[in-house]
Amino acid sequence: MAQMTMIQAITDALRTELKNDENVLVFGEDVGKNGGVFRATENLQKEFGEDRVFDTPLAESGIGGIAIGLGLQGYRPVPEIQFFGFLFEVMDSVAGQMSRMRYRSGGRYNSPITIRSPFGGGVHTPEMHADSLEGLMAQTPGLKVVIPSSPYDAKGLLISSIRDNDPVIFLEHMKLYRSFREDVPEEEYTIPLGVASVKREGKDLSIITYGAMVQESIKAAEELEKEGYSVEVIDLRTIAPLDIDTIIASVEKTGRAIVVQEAQKQAGIAANVVAEINDRAILSLDAPVLRVTAADTVFAFSQAEPVWLPNYKDVIETAKKVLNF
């Protein structure tokens, strides 16, 4: 066991799969010599050579295109999009091409691609770096969308994503990259996609969340416990597909739920979770399922960011509305 930050766990996962499978290729802007702007690919080029880990020209659409082409040649591409706000530049490759490859070709071809990309607020980036765009991805049929909230999960989920034979969008919250360390086994292990993690058990309220909001939700749960509430926290880990069984089992137990996301409120993951709970467990509910989200605006410039982003106080406030309903 080693103590690792999330970024170290990600590098470790990449190294593991580069070693395991010669078809794994890691590429993107500045991922080679520079080791990536966040050092996620630190030393990988040195270790595995320029043929396996390489820099590309500065063009996200081109990166998506070569990922698809390399996939057609039997490779297992792991491209990095330097910041997920640049998604719009590669949107056709993601939503128009790789997500449809299996159906379009009747299973003759697939896109075993894992797109890694940093996202998320709280680190005062310029515009178009921090946006939570996972809702767009989750609404795109044919994609899996994974968002780890801890170093341990990041390694196991990334290895599973790379081994998956369908395209996976693997989103890495920038604030979590170096915010804490935890024990991460040096040997390989996988965490299955589509399986949530119960971070904390409770019987009065379920908080369903993912990404950096997992930390805020745990903090809120701890505060609420001081006031006598027993709060369960579920980290979705994969937002497409959802782990519907874990969500529903929790809600049936607690009878009350809130969904917490960093993204804007409209048409997002939280709305989808609420709808699924309504579809499947409405008779178990003692209160409406409420959401904690950012406002329905574009991502705030950095001066307004601290208030724009939801935090544990917002979670407590909404949790109390549901608990006291």
Binding site: S61, G69, Q97, P241
Partner: protein
């Protein structure tokens, strides 16, 4: 007035003249069927010349039959190909079986001659996913609808070939309009930077649906866009099968030798509408222009050339036409026998393993489709 320093450093006129000089159109066979560039004549046996002619005649018949089947409601989406036979077929003729084709939506003939069964081309037209279920060993992907996407993917396929050490090329096709897409430039630029074995074809048929090529770009030729990516660009008479063959054969040799990609602009013309879905070319083309281009017809000039050489007869022409008609009839029968594509087929093909939501929806549609 520009300063003296500016004039000395930057002569715009000269710059463009120099570029234009570099992009002369390669022609080997003129409109009369005469060889006008003996030195560039590719090495083709008599049998190969006959085969190329046979394919062009066959494909012209396939185009006519497809249009008529579409009008009868027996085919769906169809983009007519007449006029572009030299550009499409002579370029494919220069390939080897292991080369990989990434076509645009009009480029179905190349797929057929690369091994896609005709019945599957018809299923593609009818909107059945089995049309795109490319048989093992046939190195193509289904026609791209998002124009430009095939260029960046071709760069990736070519890069993969280079990494594998395969002696093969990725070849992709777009039109004059496609060169305005960002992906066009990203594709040639990536392939150039990676020195990947790719061939990028621009079939300049002068109109992107209705928009004339003059409105696509201030660039005098489209091939000269290669210069910006640092790769060779070639303009060829796209109505001349020998020139197209020669250009692609040379590009393939360069690619195989590790010298990187080539951009080839074929000057051609589609006689028909953009697609059979209601496009009316009389709204944007004059009949004078149509007539001017029909005089350049690739079949007419190649037939003259072969007849003079004693390699083509009316009998061979008729045999080819009859064979085409017969095979089309058979292929339609095969396509007709294919059960309709279902929503459950679609649901089953989204992922390797169905997630919970699709499992539930599969049951719903299975029930609906059993009625």
């Amino acid at each position: 007035m520009a300063s003296k320093a500016n004039q000395a450093n930057f002569d715009v006129k000269k710059q463009f003249e120099t570029v234009e000089e570099q992009f002369q159109t390669l022609q080997i066979l003129n409109e009369e069927g005469e060889i006008v560039n003996e030195a560039a004549m590719p090495e083709l046996t008599d049998e190969q010349l006959q085969e190329l002619m046979r394919r062009m005649v066959y494909t012209r018949i396939l185009d006519q039959r497809s249009i008529s089947l579409n009008r009868q409601g027996r085919l769906g989406f169809y983009a007519p190909t007449a006029g572009q036979e030299a550009s499409q077929l002579a370029s494919q003729f220069a390939l080897e079986k292991e080369d990989f084709i990434l076509p645009g939506y009009r480029d179905v003939p190349q797929l057929i001659w690369h091994g896609l069964p005709l019945s599957q081309a018809f299923l593609f037209s009818r909107g059945h996913f089995k049309g795109n279920q490319i048989p093992e060993g046939v190195n193509v992907i289904s026609p791209q609808i998002i124009i430009g996407a095939q260029y960046i993917q071709a760069a990736g396929v070519a890069l993969g070939m280079k990494k594998r050490g395969t002696k093969a090329v990725a070849i992709t096709y777009t039109g004059d309009g496609g060169t305005s897409q960002g992906d066009f430039y990203e594709g040639i630029n990536f392939a150039g930077a990676f020195k990947a074995p790719a061939i990028f074809i621009i079939q300049n048929n002068r109109f992107a649906i209705s928009t004339p090529v003059e409105k696509q770009s201030a660039s005098k030729t489209l091939a000269q866009k290669a210069v910006a990516a640092g790769i060779p660009g070639v303009v060829v008479d796209g109505m001349d099968p020998l020139a197209v063959y020669k250009a692609v054969k040379d590009a393939r040799e360069r690619a195989i030798n590790g010298e990187g990609p080539t951009l080839i602009e074929t000057l051609t013309y589609r006689y028909g509408p953009h697609t059979m879905a209601g496009d009316d070319p009389t709204r944007y083309r004059t009949s004078d222009l149509d007539n001017e281009w029909e005089l350049k017809d690739p079949l007419v000039r190649f037939r003259k050339f072969l007849e003079v050489k004693g390699l083509w007869t009316e009998e061979m022409e008729n045999e080819t036409i009859e064979k085409a008609k017969e095979e089309i009839k058979e292929a339609i029968k095969v396509a007709d026998a294919e059960p309709k594509q279902t929503v459950t087929d679609l649901i089953s093909n989204m992922f390797e393993e169905m997630p919970y939501n699709l499992k539930e929806q599969y049951e719903i549609y299975k029930e609906k489709e059993s009625k």
